[in-house]
């Protein structure tokens, strides 16, 4: 933690800006929970003292600039290909802690083959999958994760099962794959969930360190801008609409050590 001078000398900082972030104001919309995901990952990197051996792989989406905010080595992958790029990195840098940071359009739509096969191969990478049920960056089109009936700019009358199918639950899917060691879904919609999410992030990194296989933490996230809501209402939308469609939970945990307390 980068310790600022406390407002009064008698005070000690108990929470401050993570060292693994760069102190650059982000480009995210006000209240977008991408920022929370960033912060949690950075906090875990700090706790693991892993900043100097972490390599991140950013995807294409609102988080395309993730590299600006993390104070670690970074690559910026093509849309959907972060798991392939991370595979290339990790295979030749096995000592590094390698993670991808991907949106739901990136991971579940265009990058479906790459994430599936990274899991099948049991790549020793950690994937942070920020699911906001929409394409944020391009202005709010439907994603495979868009809820049934949800209106987006490419499903203007609401997502229609007959022509557009219905929600794709990637965590449930990837948990089916033998090479996946750790697959859980968490949410960022309130303080309790955020704390749980952080634990899962930590565990997902540990799975990589222990060489147990592919690890993914799906994080239900908000897009106040494209959902057309206030930041607070957006958190409510996660809680009330998204969580029922995307149940939180552990879909796969390493047999050697079941995830407790998450």
């Amino acid at each position: 933690m980068s310790v600022l001078a406390p407002p009064e000398p008698a005070l000690t900082p108990v929470y401050s800006y993570p060292d693994a972030l760069t102190h650059v104001p982000t480009h995210y919309c006000p209240g977008c929970t991408h920022g929370i995901a960033h912060r949690l990952i950075a906090e875990v990197i700090d706790e693991m003292a892993a900043k100097e051996r972490t390599i991140g792989v950013a995807s294409v989406g609102c988080s395309v600039f993730a590299y600006r905010y993390f104070g670690v080595d970074f690559a910026q992958a093509a849309h959907g290909r972060a798991p392939a790029m991370a595979t290339g990195v990790k295979r030749v840098r096995p000592e590094a802690l390698v993670f991808t940071y991907q949106g739901d359009g990136d991971l579940a739509s265009i990058g479906a083959a790459e994430i599936l096969h990274a899991a099948v191969r049991g790549e020793q990478i950690t994937v942070f999958f920020v699911n906001n049920a929409i394409y944020g960056m391009t202005g709010g089109q439907m994603a495979p994760t868009t809820l049934l009936g949800q209106t987006t700019t490419s499903s203007p009358a609401g997502r229609d099962r007959a022509t557009m199918g219905t929600v794709l639950r990637m965590s449930e899917l990837l948990a089916q794959v033998d090479g996946a060691a750790y697959v859980v879904r968490r949410s960022l919609h309130d303080v309790v969930q955020i704390k749980r999410a952080k634990k899962a992030i930590r565990r997902a990194f540990e799975v990589q360190e222990q060489g147990l296989g592919f690890a993914m933490v799906e994080l239900l996230s908000s897009c106040p801008t494209n959902w057309g809501m206030t930041p607070e209402a957006a958190l409510g939308y996660i809680r009330d609409e998204m969580v029922p469609a995307f149940p939180l939970g552990d879909f796969k945990v390493p047999e050697t050590r079941a995830e407790a307390g998450a």
């Binding site: 005070l11 000690t12 900082p13 108990v14 401050s16 920022g35 912060r39 607070e232």
Partner: protein, 75 residues
């Protein structure tokens, strides 16, 4: 005094997510000023020193804009 918080106004986006989570209701949007982004930043209003340094606001803040302090304990 148990604790206090500072808000880094260059980072704060005025999203107001820190406000409802404060159990003591001590956070608010400072509508008397804009930051460089053109938004009203959040601020702690704690005349009674009620802040416990519980960190809920910081946990919620998407911008990591909040630093939380507690009175140093002699451990």
């Amino acid at each position: 005094m148990h604790g206090t918080v500072t808000v880094d106004e260059t980072l704060c986006k005025g999203c107001a997510l820190c406000i409802p989570v404060c159990p003591k209701g001590l956070m608010r949007v400072a509508d008397d000023r804009f930051n460089a982004r053109g938004v009203h930043p959040a601020e702690l209003i704690d005349p009674a020193n009620a802040c416990t340094g519980c960190q809920l606001c910081a946990t919620m803040c998407p911008e990591a804009a909040i630093t939380v302090y507690r009175a140093a304990k002699v451990a």
